[in-house]
Amino acid sequence: MRYSFLTLAREALSGHRGWRPLWRDAAPRGRYEVVIVGAGGHGLATAYYLARNHGITDVAVLEKGWLGGGNTARNTTIVRSNYLWDESAALYEHSLKLWEGLAEELDFNLMFSQRGVLNLAHNLHDVREGRRRVEANRRNGIDAEWLGPAEVKKLCPPIDVSPTARYPVLGATLQRRGGVARHDAVAWGYARAADARGVDIVENCEVTGFRIEAGRVRGVETTRGYIAANRVGLVAAGHSSVLAALAGFRLPIQSHPLQALVSEPLKPVLPCVVMSNAVHVYVSQSDKGELVIGAGIDAYNSYAQRGAFHVIESQMGALLELFPTFSRLKMMRSWGGIVDVCPDASPIIGKTPIENLFINCGWGTGGFKATPGSGWVFAHLLATGEPHPLAAPFALERFSTGVLVDEHGAAAVAH
């Protein structure tokens, strides 16, 4: 059923009895051409592009919990492509271009809102890095502007740009095409579109092992029985290293809790996304009216989706340093996700030591924005067995060859 105002109106007249499930409650079959482990945004996008770009629909996406319940449900929904290095810029810009037509393509309003992303500079080093990023982005065909403090204030009135602040705002980069999207809708939109093309999405189905023969993967053991597959793709974010261990190889990944929180809903007050590296906080306002606020990772490694309160304390100090008028707003809900961080803060997309077992992970604190592009290139890998040109620089081998794509600097607030 195509979604539109017309179908909505028709359903309203008939008591909304005609709506069908967005995706089927599929029971796993015994064999698939491709099994994708992890039904988050990246896994579901992979399934969708396998079907759409490569005509492969004999696909199961296995999810140990509820679909989209990991980092897809826990991130701060920021979308941008202003990465420093050419390799990252190409990948994230491909993703951003997909975002721009995605709601219509998926027939699902993802509430993608290109309201602009500001990265504030608070010291001379920030200014230098910001201006470098602007110029590098422009060379890569990515929209980027450098703003002075007065322009920052004009674009985003609640920011305090006074020179007497502890860390005054000296300027900012702006990517106008950046913004936010409704995170759950991304998972649901891809799930619905993949399901419509015949993909089985199997929830409450945890992978407990891999069947590997002669160095080649044959299938996965799950809590719902053995499932054979010609090719298997792992897209499990913070738990990637757990899956890799089950398959018998190691990843250069550290899993950390990353917390975020929202305020109570408010009438519009913050027109764009604001990120600050030096003061260490990022914030936007959701369409529902909540301020969505994130900061740095918890220092310790963990698989528990909860963090420590002192991280929230420093996050709030940072927020109020930028927005003193937000002091009387209230934190309504806080949560944590587990992010998978690579030594160079770039993802791993590629082959593993096991034949026909592929991996897509290491997106760290910034994977949400990459969802469409990540699915696109990973589907290519699963379909053809060879990396998509955009993904080639992100192979696992780079940690032995040393050809790293170090985005620590460009990642801004570790995001």
């Binding site: 499930p21 809708a185 929830e203 309504m332 790293l404």
Partner: protein
């Protein structure tokens, strides 16, 4: 004055004190002891809000923190607060409140027009529509305006906030009968007890139901009289974190001076959760009209506030406790028109009344006029904190509720929170509507109806988490306290399974919303982050320096004289260094003393170059890499003695380098005998640079570059190193921090021109010296910087293996070069053909990192920035060649002040060895031994701080007398505002010491009989003094 619904007697309000308040533009009166909600009800006002989505008139449902409807915009200007719950706002004189989400007024709200489109506004309607190009320009702004409740204040906060740490044996959360009993029991054992209660008064339901008044009075009296019981009223424990660490927020009573709210961080040995239960409404047609209220709320308004919630009531419940509210109503003079027991098939199936309930219709067809409908759908134990602590729940059919099952932390859950004493409801929580279109609300605040949940299930939202996200049930400011369980039950019913199978959504902190300001505490404004200053800071301020932030440090960037702009000042400063004499405050650079027989081999492993061959009295420049082979930091290593070395680091990396050293020494290279001691703040450093510098030190005039001597200046120990970061002669002079001013003034007297970081950067760029973080960006190797000569491949060092990886043999790596552009270019500009970028750009020197740059010297390139293109030539990165010939000038004539200071030394030794040498040692780590004229603080496994005069010969020690300042604090309560340790004298008696955090500064605490000593790093002392002064004031 009239409060028509105020009962003639009863309640805990102070009837002698009448206060005035304004709601929705009209003035009313209430009493001290009222909440805004009770005062409104006393005035007959039920209709106080409009709902989130349909803008339906809404009334006061509850009398506590679970309130879904009665949200108001409270206060004005710097005291404005959005989304305050009228049921918990204590009334004060002059209170001004307005409804949220209603325009132009509560009565005539244009938003109510959305009600007409209600059939279209089903869950997820916005996912199915507005997908096209009109989303951003039209629909999104419309949705954003419609959504949201209150308005963010536009003025900075007029109040301040406090933080407090507390420790106890037993923390009791909740002060109803179960909580009071637990607190009494614990108090009688002599335990340290904290009891926290979110209401202004202890008693909980005993107050709301006017029961057991005498027992309550005795309990409160006993607890108040117990020395080790801390009673926190108006305090909501909102978060239960790991290791029995709980956070709460205490609100000041109105008019109370001091902070508006106080964040409590409580570490408890054992926790008793007596958090009670929330009554839930029933789900039936149009169950949201003003005048429909929970039975528990009706009781509270009658007994706690002396307010009749209506004149003529209908009671509708599925449990005995709910039905029994009839007696309270009758006793308060409210006519009870009907009592409907859902278990007998009696039910309300329709309600009428636009802005206030007028009539209900029952299943048996009766139409009953009433202005109050009291409902009860049973109780949900408040298991929020229990679940935050990792506890699991089980579904209980008898109570139709989720009850605590297994606890994960050291806690007990008691009373109603554990399901004890709750009145079992009939199973039904909802009643089918008579008319198909009638709305049966499950979650009032988010306007989620029973139909919405059924539709979500129909659309495949089978998980409670999907249902929540799709319908938004439970996502309001009340986080579904009244509505969630009904939503879960309805979803289970739609799926044909038990609620035990669907379960609940995750309970997340906070229990109720917490003010941002309270979480930030005093870490705002000037105290947002420590300002670190050098001992010369006042000199710089007096000289009119313009500062830059380098990490937390304030460093002088340049010293403009009258009429000078930055360019002129910097040019003058540079000229002084090149032609005569400049002086720089270099105190911020990190300084680490390394001692032990293995320092040489340790430094060989740390630096790319070889350090072990360094002779005593010599300095060597070195680079250290991370294990990925990328440049991490650089600096000069000086060998002061056979087994005593001094490493300098960049300003920004001082702490990271020390951590890096310790990490390798403690975890990987445990066979090496090396001790590291930071002396960054013990020494102040002034660099005298320029051809006249040698003349300052006639007795050292022939000292060659890269030498170091330990000497004295006017009898004070000093260290002089011939190390240059600017080219040309340079003498780096270190003196103990308090003598820096005398040294600086002597420099001025000798004609030295102060120069700041900007001139320093220009001068080093002219020499082609790279800056960590400016030329390097975490992807730069020593080879990229052209510094292969600093890499000793024939030894092991961190990063060596990585540097041998194939990537570093590939062509195309960015390499450090100079640029000669035809016009000024900006830092960050891109280079074509590239890739490459400008890293440093000054009038006299431009540095860049350019692909294969070393092989492209002489090549013409373009520099691109701001849409422009500037031609440039790649050149060697060297723009100046200052001579080394000294120029005559006056010598440095320093007169050091007299001052007395308690000596402090860091000693590294095994405890037994220390005892042999000094005759005593502390008994345990973190304790103090007192000797004759000195004290020994045991800080780390082999680390001691000796305070006072002691003969330390034969020990491995470092003088750190001036590394820290000692602050004397009599009131431990002030320290508890910024220190997480248990500072109770029983836990931290005299003779104890600890290294910890106080506010945002690292400190050593030492308990003395009369006071606490706080040893703070000198550069943080000003910050900490400001912090302490602020904490003492409030």
């Amino acid at each position: 004055m009239s409060q028509p619904f105020r009962l003639p007697a009863g309640g805990l309000i102070d009837r002698t004190r009448t206060i005035r308040f304004v709601f929705a533009g009209r003035a009313y009166h209430g009493h001290v002891g009222d909440t805004l909600a009770s005062a409104l009800l006393a005035n007959g006002i039920h209709f106080v809000a409009r709902s989130f989505k349909y803008h339906r008139p809404r009334g006061i449902v509850s009398a506590g923190p679970e309130e879904p409807n009665a949200l108001v915009q409270l206060g004005l200007g710097p005291h404005e607060e959005p989304n305050a719950r009228a049921t918990t706002v204590e009334l004060y004189d002059g209170l001004v409140a307005a409804p949220v989400n209603a325009w132009p007024s509560l009565r005539f709200d244009v938003g109510a027009a959305t009600g007409l489109a209600a059939p279209l506004l089903v869950p997820g309607f916005y996912y199915k529509t507005f997908k096209g190009p009109l989303w951003r320009p039209l629909f999104e702004p419309l949705i954003r305006r419609m959504a949201g409740l209150g308005t963010a204040p536009t003025e900075p906060d007029g109040d301040r906030y406090e933080r407090m740490n507390a420790h106890c044996d037993v923390l009791v959360v909740g002060a109803g009968p179960a909580g009071l009993e637990a607190a009494l029991e614990a108090a009688r054992t002599g335990a340290r007890v904290v009891i926290a209660c979110d209401a202004p008064l202890l008693g909980g339901t005993l107050v709301d139901r006017a029961e057991r008044a005498e027992w309550l009075a005795n309990a409160v009296a006993e607890l108040s009289a117990s020395k080790d019981v801390r009673i926190l009223v108006r305090t909501t424990i909102f978060g239960y974190y790991d290791d029995n660490y709980l956070c709460g927020v205490e609100r000041a009573a109105s008019g109370e001076p001091g902070p508006r709210e106080r964040l409590w961080k409580i570490r408890a040995g054992r926790v008793v959760l007596a958090t009670g239960a929330h009554e839930r409404p029933l789900v039936f047609a149009d169950n949201d009209r003003p005048g429909i209220m929970l039975a528990s709320a009706a009781r509270a308004y009658i007994h706690r506030f002396g307010v009749a919630p209506g004149r003529r009531a209908v009671v509708f419940a599925n449990n005995d406790d709910g039905l029994s509210v009839e007696r309270d109503l009758a006793a308060a003079g409210v006519e009870v028109a009907a009592v409907l027991d859902l278990r007998d098939g009696e039910a309300v199936v329709a309600t009428e009344g636009r802005r206030r309930l007028r009539r209900v219709e029952t299943a048996s067809g009766r139409r009953i006029d009433c202005d109050l409908l009291v409902v009860s759908g049973g109780w949900n134990p408040a298991v929020h904190l229990f679940c935050q602590a990792g506890g699991t729940l089980r579904w209980d059919d008898r109570l139709a509720a989720f009850l605590p099952d297994r606890a994960r932390q050291k806690l007990e859950i008691v009373g109603a929170a554990a399901g004890e004493g709750l009145s079992p409801p009939g199973n039904a929580l909802s009643v089918p509507p008579r008319r198909r279109r009638a709305k049966c609300f499950v979650d009032y605040q988010t306007d989620t109806t029973a139909d919405d949940i059924a539709l979500a299930a129909q659309e495949g939202m089978r998980s409670v988490e999907h249902m929540k996200r799709y319908t938004t049930a439970g996502l309001g400011t009340d986080q579904g306290k009244t509505g969630n369980v009904a939503a879960f039950v309805l979803l289970a019913a739609a799926r044909g399974v038990s609620p035990a199978e669907t379960g609940t959504t995750t309970f997340r902190p906070p229990y109720t919303p917490v003010t941002f300001g309270a979480i930030a505490g005093r870490d705002v404004g000037a105290l947002a982050d420590p300002v670190r200053t050098t001992p010369l800071h006042d000199e710089h301020v007096a000289a009119g320096a313009v500062f830059e932030d380098v990490g937390q440090w304030k460093r002088p960037r340049y010293y403009p004289r009258a009429g000078e702009d930055m360019e002129a000042a910097v040019a003058r400063e540079c000229r002084a260094v090149r032609e005569s004499l400049g002086m720089l405050d270099a105190s911020t650079l990190g300084k680490i003393v390394l001692q032990g027989p293995d320092v040489g081999s340790f430094l060989d492993r740390i630096y790319t170059g070889r350090m072990s061959t360094l002779a005593v009295g010599r300095c060597r420049y070195g680079i250290m890499c991370r294990d990925d082979g990328m440049v991490f930091d650089d600096g000069v290593v000086a060998r002061l003695d056979k087994e005593r070395w001094l490493v300098s680091t960049t300003t920004g990396n001082a702490a990271s380098v020390l951590d890096w050293f310790e990490e390798w020494l403690q975890t990987e290279w445990t066979e090496l005998d090396v001790s590291c001691t930071s002396v960054t703040e013990h020494w102040a450093v002034v660099t005298f640079a320029g051809p006249r510098a040698p003349a300052l030190f006639p007795e050292l005039g022939d000292m060659r570059p890269m030498r170091v001597v330990e000497t004295t200046l006017d009898g004070i120990p000093a260290r002089i190193a011939t190390v240059s970061f600017t080219g040309g002669p340079s003498f780096e002079v270190s003196v103990p921090a308090p003598y820096a001013e005398a040294l600086w003034r002597a420099g001025l007297a000798a004609g030295a021109v102060p120069f700041g970081t900007e001139a320093m950067h220009v001068l080093r760029a002219e020499m082609g010296y790279f800056m960590v973080g400016q030329e390097t960006d975490g992807s730069t190797t020593p080879l990229d910087l052209g510094l292969e000569r600093l890499v000793a491949w024939d030894k092991e060092f961190l990063g060596r293996r990585s540097l041998r990886r194939p990537a570093h043999a590939l062509s195309g790596r960015r390499q450090l070069v100079g640029l000669k552009p035809v016009a000024p270019v900006i830092e960050g500009a891109q280079i074509e053909p590239g890739p490459g970028h400008v890293t440093s750009s000054y009038r006299t020197a431009v540095l860049a990192m350019v692909a294969n740059g070393r092989a492209r010297i002489g090549e013409e390139v373009n520099v691109l920035f701001e849409g422009r293109r500037v031609a440039a030539r790649i050149v060697e990165p060297r723009f100046a060649s200052p001579g080394s010939a000294p120029v005559p000038g006056p010598p440095l004539n320093v007169t050091m002040p007299q001052m007395a200071a308690t000596p402090m030394a860091s000693v590294r030794a095994a405890p037994e060895a220390l005892e042999r040498l000094l005759g005593l040692r502390p008994e345990t780590p973190n304790s103090v031994a007192e000797g004759d004229g000195f004290r020994i603080l045991w800080l780390g496994p082999d680390e001691f701080l000796i305070v006072g005069e002691a003969d330390l010969s034969g020990t491995r020690n470092v003088d750190v007398t001036f590394n820290r300042e000692i602050l004397h604090i009599a009131d431990r309560g002030i320290l508890a505002k910024g220190c997480g340790l248990d500072l109770d004298p029983r836990a931290f008696p005299p003779g104890r010491c600890a290294q910890t955090l106080l506010a945002r500064a690292q400190v050593i605490l030492e308990a003395r009989p009369e006071e606490m000593l706080v040893y703070v790093r000198r550069s943080y002392a000003r910050y900490l003094q400001d912090w302490l002064a602020d904490a003492a004031r409030r």
